[in-house]
């Protein structure tokens, strides 16, 4: 019954129940700038989700490479908050240990680890972390890095929030409370 439980979880999101009204019109996939790079476009992904094919859904790269442009969301004739569902799928995947060998996932993790540490993002530090998991991207970015450096657009010194320890306590409390909230380990992760 796992597939049904997962679908129910998705439906719990505000507007999530709209997914049941999907008429498979394909406006979302047709509008999606990242669709050419996706295993399945949003339309097919929702068909699979409604059909209970959650293994396939989570294995697909679709929701990870969504660019959050919200074209799908503003155009969906059923008002389905597609982008928000993509976010939910990412969280559900992570909560279930489906974090795939997907570079976008590494990127988000690198971003999060940096902000968790400082309260603010340092692009340089984030890239350092990201490139540890995706080392082949380093070569691609090397010359850009040098150009930015030459223009004074690289910063290596981070200016954190004043009280990092207190900031971390806030996040820790949020994590603790979030564990019982929707889409996050509600099924025991």
């Amino acid at each position: 019954m796992e597939a049904r439980e997962l679908l129910k979880e998705l439906l719990k999101m505000p507007g999530g129940d709209q997914i049941l009204k999907c008429i498979q019109c394909g406006t979302c996939t047709g509008s999606c700038p990242m669709a050419p790079a996706m295993d399945y476009g949003p339309r097919k992904l929702f068909a699979m989700a409604k059909g209970g094919d959650f293994r396939e859904v989570f294995d697909a790269n679709t929701y990870w490479i969504c660019a959050s442009c919200y074209f799908c969301t503003v155009r969906c004739p059923r008002g389905i908050k597609i982008t928000d569902i993509m976010y939910a799928l990412k969280r559900m995947a992570v909560a279930r240990g489906y974090a795939p060998k997907e570079k976008a996932a590494y990127m988000y993790q690198a971003f999060k680890d940096t902000v968790d540490d400082y309260g603010r993002l340092s692009e340089a530090k984030m890239m350092q972390r990201y490139l540890m998991k995706a080392p082949f991207d380093a070569l691609k970015n090397a010359s850009l890095g040098l150009r930015l450096l030459a223009k004074g657009r690289m910063e290596f010194k981070v200016e954190p929030v004043k009280d990092v320890a207190a900031f971390k306590r806030v996040l820790e409390k949020a994590r603790e409370l979030g564990r019982t909230s929707r889409n996050q380990g509600a099924l025991g992760s």
Binding site: A37, C69, F71, V74, G119, K140, K151, K162, A174
Partner: protein, 280 residues
């Protein structure tokens, strides 16, 4: 309006955005104090990993602004703008989530009331009362310049509360018309550049950037005007390997500075990767 400024994490490495904002605000004698001890809004990353934390981050910024007595948070970054207003909308609709957010913020003695509004810097400059300060100071209308106004995605999407048209917004067009420029009919004005996916999936994003750049240049634009650090970066960084001609991507505040007669040097124009050589 009692506004405070939320810079966001990418402002300081942006190509002259911070310089031009500060120069212009000073020249116009407009006071926009920064949100004290501001933090990262979390952008797309945190919503992808943990929803409650993703709400706490923008709520913390807004809570600090409220504590400063502000009624509006003004931000120059689309992601910060979208994230803050998304959090504001979600927390207004879901008291239980707002409660949890406040339990977390209480660890730092902070509290989010939900009273502060969120405004993009572009709209701030167009506010009645503010806009007169610079319109009257235009010394050099940029009449010889044709521009393509690039809004990016998250200025007008998602729709949470009275934003501009989701696909054909007008605010930047209007702003640029006030500066005297010729604004081209830019179809790709809210087409996605790939945003953060440029890091992990460059090959999928380059065609998106190419599409935006070629629309701008085919329409005769001599410059693209950006309102967000990541948009500006994604549009200028890959130029040279896309097979379309180079088009400088400048910030709207840099053009504002030029129009009110400020020196190029103080507007950070030399930080652009694709130089803005157009005489104005």
């Amino acid at each position: 309006m009692n506004a405070v400024f939320y810079p966001g994490c990418t402002l300081r490495t942006a190509a002259g955005y911070q310089e031009s904002i500060e120069a212009v605000l000073e020249a116009l004698e407009l006071s926009l104090p920064w949100v004290e001890d501001w933090n990262c809004c979390g952008a797309t990353a945190y919503f992808s990993l943990d929803e409650l934390v993703a709400l706490v981050l923008p709520a913390r910024v807004m809570a600090i602004a409220e504590g400063m007595g502000a009624d509006t948070v003004v931000t120059p970054c689309n992601a910060c703008y979208a994230t803050l207003r998304k959090a504001r909308a979600v927390l207004a609709d879901e008291p239980e989530l707002k409660d949890n957010v406040n339990k977390a913020l209480a660890e730092e003695g902070k509290r989010y009331w939900g009273k502060v509004g969120v405004e993009h810097l572009l709209d701030y400059f167009l506010e009645p009362g503010i806009r007169e300060t610079w319109i009257s100071r235009i010394r050099q209308p940029l009449t010889s310049l044709s521009v393509a106004p690039y809004y990016g995605c998250q200025y007008s999407r998602p729709q949470t509360d009275g934003e501009d048209h989701p696909e054909r917004p007008q605010a930047l067009d209007t702003f640029l018309e006030f500066l005297g420029t010729r604004v081209v009919d830019f179809t790709a004005k809210t087409y996605c550049c790939g945003a953060a996916q440029m890091v992990a999936h460059e090959e999928a994003c380059l065609p998106l950037v190419r599409r935006i750049l070629s629309d701008a240049s085919r329409k005769g634009a001599q410059a693209i005007v950006a309102i967000c650090p990541l948009c500006q970066f994604n549009l200028e960084a890959p130029q040279g390997k896309l097979g379309v001609g180079n088009v400088p991507v400048v910030y709207f505040t840099q053009l504002l500075g030029l129009a009110i007669g400020m020196d190029r040097k103080v507007l950070g124009l030399k930080k652009l990767l694709v130089p803005f050589k157009v005489a104005v």
